[in-house]
Amino acid sequence: RGLSEIPNHLTDALANAPYLAAQKVFDIAIGERVDFLLLAGDLFDSDSGNARAAAFLLNQFQRLAEKEIRVYWCAGETDHPDRWPGSIELPETVVTFSSSLVEQIEHRREGKLVARIMASGFDSKRRTAENYGAPDNEVFNIALGHGEFEPNSLTGNNIRYWALGGRHKSSKLEKTETTVAYPGTPQGRTPQESGAHGFNVCRLDSGGKLRVQTVESDRVRWLPQKVAISEQVKIQELKNELGERALKIMTDTTDQVILCDWQFTTNGDFNPRIRSREWKSELLKWLRDEFGRSDRGLWSVALTVDSPQNLPLEWYDEDTILGEYMRATGRYQSDDSLKLNFHEYMPKSVDGSLTQGLNQMSELTRVEILRRAAMVGIEYLAKHKEFAESASED
């Protein structure tokens, strides 16, 4: 999510990324000959009606079954076992759990009890951590669940490891007696889920100490880039700087397609030029042409230049159209009672779906729209205030 255009050469990479990331989870499980695999929900969205997801999971479960690796799968909000296609049986090695109570499963290796798993699917009533108590701490106890828990309650109860789902970004909390881990999704889906994504591989060493290793699995990675630039920056210099940064990112991440949102923060005297559509589109085009044309490259999603909170004050005092414009937007920004009448500009016959939400805008949206409107005015009316790219010559 969060992309408004999909370049053709990345379509397959983007569409397949979640599958390839998940594939890595299963590959590692087989390669490392793990005892079992814990899946903490939201593996797929049953409402999406996507056969590929179910077929993929079925294939992977069968692969694990051939290696006799058990799967403990507690449901999340979108993948309750009841919504699994009823006509298709899961392999016997896949164990699913109820969402109405905490079930206890003992995992044995060659007849010897090695771990006890307390698990329950997602419960909208927010089941508390106390429900996951283990009877004793003679074996390695694991709690498997989905959703949010009161952080202070995730201790004691003889649980050594909390394998939790429901958060898309990875987080881990190591306490004295227990480790609470939200490994996140194997593949980041939105710009908000930026950075590396993966899963956890847990090992118990001979001394009974738990070692948690995070393995990266994402194939597409959102990496927002904040770049501080001068208002008077020359485009060629900026290209050099961005080029270096892009190359570094590409060198650091060889396996992933990078989706990059360039955000420029500025310093110096306000320069309308670096906010013009032409300037930004030229830079974006250059970035895409230079680094985004291969299927393992860096695709620049967007490029934004931060607008300063306060524009040059003298512009507000000018007896010009620009001054009038700045004063008018200033009035609207400071006075919420002044309405923005979009209806006046709407086409006479319009598609109803497109008008939805146009009038009911949040305060945040109004502020943003007015700030951008101010920039539009500046784009048209303050061309003469632009700083030239290069010094004039005689």
Binding site: A15, R52, P85, T320
Partner: protein, 981 residues
């Protein structure tokens, strides 16, 4: 500033266009649409303000080739100038291009700054918005009423900010409508996106249907898989049956044969266990029974013979009756003999003792010079007290004797060792000690070493002297080195000479070029100087090296001399310590070393002599001490004798003799008395025994003449012994007879037992007779053969059945279908297999298709792609909506400004309402109409209340207008409008 000439080298459609001598007043360009009017206008603007990116993109490179750009000739109050500007279309970032402003008066070339001053610093924005009024604006203005015209005029005035508010608003509207507008011909961006979204949603619905199909097919595929498993199982069963039927057909004959054999076996009924039947055991029993019966008969015969022999034995019963008494007396026979022997021995002992006693008493008395009568009392005098003192005296004497013997032995050894040492020394013929010889050898060695050292030092001194001579010679420099220095030095002189000559004669003599002779001469002089310096340097360096080396050798020479002197002094010192007669030190050293080696060999012998001598001394000291001990013990002994009243001459061993003899004499006396009384006792016992034997002989009726007691007793004993042998013989017979009876009984019992065992043997198998028993055995043999045949057939059948089948399967089959029905059954089974296989193939095919489709559907990524696209479309819709909102808000702001301008900042429109004389208005209108191409030769302009255009006929077009002296634009724009028609 006025433009006089235009030269277009290349711009858009124009190539090589020249417009010369434009009018001083006004120049109008007109032509058809797309004729290139706007291109020409843009060209003029480009010449004045440069190539903006829009113009570069649109008009360059020129369509018909040529260099992009051209020139304008302009007249200004400051003079006439040519503005020339060209641009390379590939250099997009350069709007200025190659600009040259040439002053026609003096030909000076200026740049951008000068052009800017010619244009009164008016930039393109101001020019466009203030001075460049397009035809469209003029036409619109003329056709509009006062308010609309005012707007247009306002638009002109609002351009004073370098921007046109109306243009901005128009541009915003265009942008807004591109995003979301109501143009029915073209779809706006949002409409496009909306359509795309609808399309994607429809596709998603379709794809979801495919997902459902995937679920259904997957389930059906699983069902088919289960069916196929069932079919495979069924097929296995059927093929198994087919195989069984085939086997049954192959082995049906053997099966029937075996069944016949089984019937035969069964016909034997139940036979006793073969293991219970043993013919050999039966035969064994029969043999044993016969042998036992024979033995019984033999024993019976033996018994009869023994009985006969026993009766024939002569036994005296009277004598035998006295057997006990005779045996009792006979038992005394050894005693009687012993008594007789004791009596005799005692007699001789008594005689012997008496003689010994007399001898002892006599011997002792004589020895001790005491009376014989006292001898018997000696033991009572406390002789025992003397014994300890005597023993001590004897021990001391004994130790003294031992010491003396050891001393003698040591002395003997000493003599031996001394002799041997003396012999060895005399053999070697020397009197020196080992130490003397060792010292002598060391001095000789040192003398020889010093001599060698002196020789070496002398040799080194000679070498050094020779080296020093060599160095001294080198200090004068050898010919070779001197030659090198000389050659270099002479070369230097030659170069210097050449140089000097060259410089002085300016190369004339040497044939050098005059201009360069000076430099070459200096170069030669310089090279000559360098060669001179090198030769001097070499000389100094080699001399210095030789001097250092000489000093070094001289220092070494001094050291060698000192060492030589020290060595000679030491040699003289050593020689003084040696005998002066030595001439050959080497030979003397060898001799001395051999002597030293011999001396070293005698060292152990000498040590031994010393050790023996010290031992001898030690022994002598111990003998002296022991002699003193003996003397003390002797004194004590004599004192003890005196105390005992015995003579002092008495020796300790004599005292022992006295003691022993006195004891023996006392013992002899006592013994003599005992023996005598014992002899009397024995004689009495003998006489009583004789009386008893005589009485017995009488009672037994045996006459006997011999008076000897022992003879009589022996005779009667012999008779009794004879009787005993008869009695014993009879007893033996009786015992044998009894033994035979026992054996007879045992043999009879064995016989009975064997008979019983045989009966039991028969009874085990239920045979009443031996023949019956043997009959069972015969039947068993026959049965065994049949069973072997049956087993053989069974093995064959089992082998044919293999591991997969058991007999019960075959039996069931044959029971069901019989041998004759097998072939028919086989055909039935084959037909069933064929039918099931066909069904299986069909299902396989169907399942394969399903799996293929399931796989295809399961791997279909289209839904993911479509979802991805839908998401992007929705994001874009959101973005566009926001952009639209931003543009709408911007427009709203601009509207506000416009209202403000309209209400508060109305432009000065009085220019339109001033007084303009009608005739001047008429002239201006006619000029303008003519200028835009109205041919007044084929038409005319008149006055009417309402302006119009009318074509009366070919070549006669009439236009009308009306004049208002207070409103200029009514007549002017009206004429232009009508002339346009």
């Amino acid at each position: 500033m006025k433009i006089t000439d235009i030269q277009v080298d290349g711009f858009g459609v124009w190539k090589g266009l020249t417009v010369e001598s434009a009018s001083d007043e006004i120049t109008v360009f007109f032509g058809e649409n797309e004729a290139g009017k706007t291109t020409l206008m843009q060209f003029i603007r480009s010449m004045m303000f440069g190539f903006s990116s829009d113009r570069l993109g649109k008009y360059t490179p020129p369509i018909y080739g040529g260099l992009a750009g051209g020139s304008l000739d302009v007249t200004t109050p400051t003079g006439v100038f040519e503005i020339q500007r060209h641009v390379d279309p590939s250099r997009h970032s350069d709007p200025i291009g190659d600009l040259a402003v040439t002053d026609s008066h003096d030909g000076s070339v200026h740049g951008r700054a000068h052009l800017s001053s010619l244009l009164s610093d008016i930039d393109e924005s101001i020019f466009n918005n203030v001075f460049a009024i397009g035809l469209r604006e003029i036409q619109e203005l003329g056709a509009l009423n006062g308010t609309a015209a005012a707007e247009h005029l306002y638009r002109l005035t609002s351009g004073l900010d370098r921007v046109s508010l109306i243009d901005v608003m128009k541009d915003l509207r265009t942008r807004r409508e591109k995003i979301w507008g109501s143009n029915k011909k073209t779809l706006s961006r949002l409409e496009e996106l909306s359509e795309r979204r609808q399309k994607l949603l429809r596709e998603i619905d379709e794809l979801k249907q495919r997902s459902k199909r995937w679920s259904r097919l997957a389930a059906e595929s699983t069902d088919l898989g289960n069916q196929l498993k069932d079919i495979e199982k069924d097929l296995v069963v059927k093929e198994r049956e087919s195989r069984l039927v085939e086997i049954a057909m192959q082995i049906s004959d053997r099966w029937n044969s075996r069944r016949h054999l089984i019937d035969q076996v069964n016909s034997y009924g139940v036979l006793p266990d073969e293991r219970d039947i043993s013919i050999s055991k039966l035969d064994d029993f029969n043999t044993k029974i016969a042998q036992t019966r024979e033995r019984v008969e033999q024993i019976k015969v033996q018994r009869r013979e023994i009985k006969k022999e026993a009766i024939a034995l002569p036994i005296n019963r009277t004598l035998w009756a006295q057997k006990t008494r005779v045996e009792a007396i006979t038992e005394h026979l050894p005693w009687i003999e012993s008594l007789q022997r004791q009596s005799d021995r005692l007699k001789s002992e008594v005689d012997g003792l008496e003689n010994s006693l007399i001898g002892e008493v006599d011997g002792l008395g004589t020895q001790l010079k005491i009376k014989a009568k006292d001898v018997r009392d000696l033991s009572g005098r406390g002789l025992l007290a003397l014994e300890s003192t005597g023993r001590k005296f004897e021990e001391q004497q004994e130790r003294l004797r031992k010491f003396q013997q050891e001393h003698e032995k040591v002395e003997f050894d000493l003599l031996q060792h001394q002799d041997r040492l003396g012999n060895s020394i005399s053999e070697r013929g020397t009197t020196d000690t080992l130490e003397d010889v060792g010292r002598y050898v060391n001095r000789l060695r040192r003398r020889i070493e010093l001599e060698e050292k002196i020789e070496k030092l002398n040799q080194t001194r000679h070498d050094l002297e020779r080296d020093i001579d060599g160095i001294v010679n080198e200090q004068v420099l050898p010919v070779g080195k001197l030659s090198v220095i000389g050659i270099v030095f002479i070369l230097g002189i030659i170069f210097l000479g050449f140089g000097l000559i060259g410089v002085l004669t300016q190369g004339a003599i040497l044939g050098w070029v005059e201009e360069t002779s000076q430099q070459i001469g200096i170069l030669f002089m310089f090279m000559g100087a360098i060669a001179g310096f090198i030769s001097m340097g070499l000389k100094y360096h080699w001399e210095r090296m030789a001097k250092d080396e000489l000093d070094d050798f001289r220092h070494q020479m001094d050291i060698i001399r000192q060492q030589l002197k020290r060595s000679k002094t030491e040699r003289d010192e050593v020689e003084r310590q040696l005998p002066s007669s030595i001439t050959q030190y080497d030979l003397e050293l060898k001799d001395a070393e051999s002597r030293l080696a011999m001396m070293e060999e005698l060292v152990p012998l000498e040590n031994r002599v010393q050790a023996t001598r010290s031992t001898s001394e030690d022994m002598r000291r111990r003998i002296g001490a022991q002699e003193r001990e003996v003397s003390i013990a002797e004194d004590q002994w004599k004192a003890s004798l005196r105390t005992a009243g015995l003579p002092e001459v008495l020796l300790p061993h004599q005292l022992k003799e006295i003691t022993q003899r006195s004891e023996r004499i006392s013992a002899f006396n006592l013994r003599l008395d005992q023996l005598k009384s014992e002899k009397i006792e024995r004689d009495k016992e003998l006489s009583s025994l004789q009386v008893r034997i005589d009485a017995l002989l009488l009672e037994s009726g045996i006459s006997f003449q011999n008076n000897n007691l022992l003879d009589r007793l022996n005779h009667i004993t012999r008779l009794i012994h004879e009787q005993r042998s008869f009695v014993n013989a009879r007893r033996e017979f009786v015992a044998k007879y009894k033994a035979l009876r026992t054996r007879l009984g045992k043999a009879k019992r064995d016989y009975e037992k064997l008979l019983g065992q045989k009966q039991r043997l028969l009874a085990i198998v239920g045979a009443e007779t031996e023949d019956m028993y043997r009959g069972f055995s015969t039947k068993h043999r026959e049965l065994k053969k049949l069973v072997e045949k049956r087993e053989n057939l069974t093995e064959q059948i089992t082998a044919a059945l293999g591991k997969n089948f058991e007999e019960k399967h075959l039996r069931t089959l044959l029971d069901s279908y019989g041998t004759s029905g097998l072939e028919k059954r086989w055909e039935q089974v084959q037909a069933e297999i064929e039918r099931v296989k066909q069904h299986q193939t069909k299902l396989h095919q169907q399942r394969g298709e399903f799996i293929q489709e399931v796989k295809m559907l399961g791997e279909d990524s289209r839904l993911d792609v479509v979802n991805l696209e839908l998401n992007a479309v929705e994001n874009e819709i959101e973005n566009q909506q926001k952009e639209w909102q931003v543009l709408a808000a911007s427009t709203q702001m601009l509207e506000l400004i416009r209202e403000t301008y309209e209400s508060k900042r109305q432009p000065d429109a009085t220019i339109l309402t001033r007084d303009y004389p009608v005739d001047r208005q008429k002239w201006f209108a006619e000029s303008a109409a003519s200028a835009i191409g109205f041919d007044f030769n084929a038409g005319r302009l008149d006055v009417t209340p309402h302006p119009f255009c009318s074509t009366i006929g070919p070549g006669d077009c009439r236009i009308t207008t009306r004049y208002n002296p207070k409103f200029f634009n009514e007549a002017f724009f009206g004429v232009l409008h009508e002339a346009g028609h």
